[in-house]
């Protein structure tokens, strides 16, 4: 299995810490609804870094990469489909 050097790992940690600082910093700026999406965007970036460098997801091959994305997609669909209901309550028709 692929070996990751200490240097790479530390660099990744550095980026993760910077991103943490960034997400705390932007939370003080009022961007309206955009704040949530920005926070989620930064969190997703951090999550991808952890997946790629700490969890070596790429070494596992296509099956794991695709099924992981599939799981996340399924979760997203779950949330989106639930919003078909809660976002449209009180409207008549489609």
């Amino acid at each position: 299995m692929h070996r990751v050097s200490y240097g790479t790992l530390s660099a990744v940690l550095g980026v993760l810490l910077v991103l943490t600082g960034l997400t705390v910093a932007v939370s003080y700026v009022d961007l309206g609804a955009f704040n949530v999406w920005l926070a989620l965007g930064i969190a997703s970036t951090k999550a991808s870094l952890v997946l790629l460098f700490f969890m070596h997801i790429r070494d596992e091959g296509r099956l794991v990469v695709l099924s992981f994305l599939g799981t996340v997609l399924f979760l997203a669909i779950m949330i989106a489909f639930t919003f078909c209901d809660v976002a449209f309550r009180g409207h008549i028709g489609i």
Binding site: M1, R3, V4, S5, Y6, L9, S10, V12, L13, L16, L17, T20, T23, V24, S27, D30, L31, N35, V36, A39, L40, I42, A43, K46, A47, V50, L51, F53, F54, M55, E60, G61, L63, V64, S67, F68, T71, V72, F74, L75, M78, I79, T82, F83, V86, A87
Partner: protein, 198 residues
Amino acid sequence: MKPAMDDRGKRLGMWLFLYTEVMLFGGLFVLYAVYFSMYASDFMAGGKELDRFFGTVNTVILLVSSLAVAASITAVQRNEKRASVVWLTAAILCGALFLINKYFEWSHKIHEGIYPGSDDLIYGEPGRNIFFGLYYIITGLHGIHIVIGMALLGVALLFTIKGRITGDNHVFLENAGLYWHLVDLFWIFIFPLFYLVL
């Protein structure tokens, strides 16, 4: 037939288990998303009541512990047993530190009269009750996962010391590590969703 040591298969099993964990938390995130859209302002007010400093420190602690776990695998692969033991111990200590922080955070809140079913929450704004209800359930579930993760890392530490985890055979450590990283991943999302909602 199964090859004598199919590490890839064992990791695949672990990944599949991680998917179940993702969906377990996913159910709670569905609730979070819906209630956030219903009670956005209450959630923002609730987020301000949580201690950002504690939250940030805990985020850093978990990120460092993730690094430690990843580094311990690199160390084992290089047959540096000692280094691996040190890294693993550090990771477990980070987990403990996280829990101690969490304990202080929770007890502080409970002291203030904010806990599930408390008068403050029940008779206050409904959105606030939901926010703190979710806060306790999600961080509580996450805390349980931290404990399980620490236990797994502890076993890995023991195996490393006893020489059962070596450069050629370290799939147990890798799987424990995968679990730990996943717990970290959850926190990466929990942190902005609770502490930083604006």
